[in-house]
Symmetry: C2
Subunit: 108 residues, 2 copies
DNA sequence: ATCGTAGTACGATGATTATCGTATAAAAGT
DNA sequence: ACTTTTATACGATAATCATCGTACTACGAT
């Protein structure tokens, strides 16, 4: 099987409601914050999640299908990164304000 | 009965995830956009929603309990307004970017 | 007092969601 | 070939959520 290509919405297909919904979960918000701070492609295994692996996969898929992250295979692992350019183009300031708020909140 | 006082979360109780969740619904996003543009207290009846009255009540409650709007009784009607100050204090730029994105999106 | 207006409360229902465990697949290293 | 690592697929389950209709309440006007 060679289904090693992952489906991503094009920039025109990204919907604000889906992005907000994807961000409205503490686990996914944590992933986004991590990616925003690392600024590179990060394998899923590098982000500690307090849930099972299959649940983790689920959350990554929600983020990808909403257009928040991009994922590419790299060997056995899969690298995730923020679609910062696309999001900033579509919703200027949104990602920054959410990440900043999430960072501040968890700094308490 | 005089339970005419509505429960609102204090500013310390407002959680980012709850706000994002409240905004991640097209109906509620429409309400928020309307309130942002009118900039005053608006009775529920003034905002046309394509759902039943009880569903409308539900959405207003979600917004209020998340801390996005403030509601006060005024005679038989109830006036809703954005908690812009509180939201801007907690999550600078968030509301503006969401409203701007929602406005642009629906302008298509 | 009665009526209309504005909105709530209370179930009920169907849809979506988060979570899990187990079985599976794909790639890299031995 | 085998093993390890990384992550997916598939079904199951429990929780949450959006929606509705009906009955109700509170207020203001007649």
């Amino acid at each position: 099987m060679s289904a090693r290509i992952l489906e991503h919405p094009s920039i025109e297909e990204i919907r604000l409601e889906a992005v907000l919904h994807a961000l409205a979960d503490p686990m996914r918000l944590g992933i986004v914050r991590f990616l925003a701070e690392s600024g590179r492609g990060v394998p899923c295994s590098e982000i500690e999640l307090a849930v099972s692996k299959s649940t983790g996969t689920h959350h990554y898929r929600v983020l990808r299908e909403a257009g928040v992250i991009r994922q590419v295979y790299h060997g056995t692992s899969k690298l995730s990164s923020l679609r910062r350019d696309d999001l900033d183009t579509l919703f200027p300031g949104l990602l920054d304000s959410v990440v900043a708020a999430a960072r501040k909140r968890s700094a308490v």
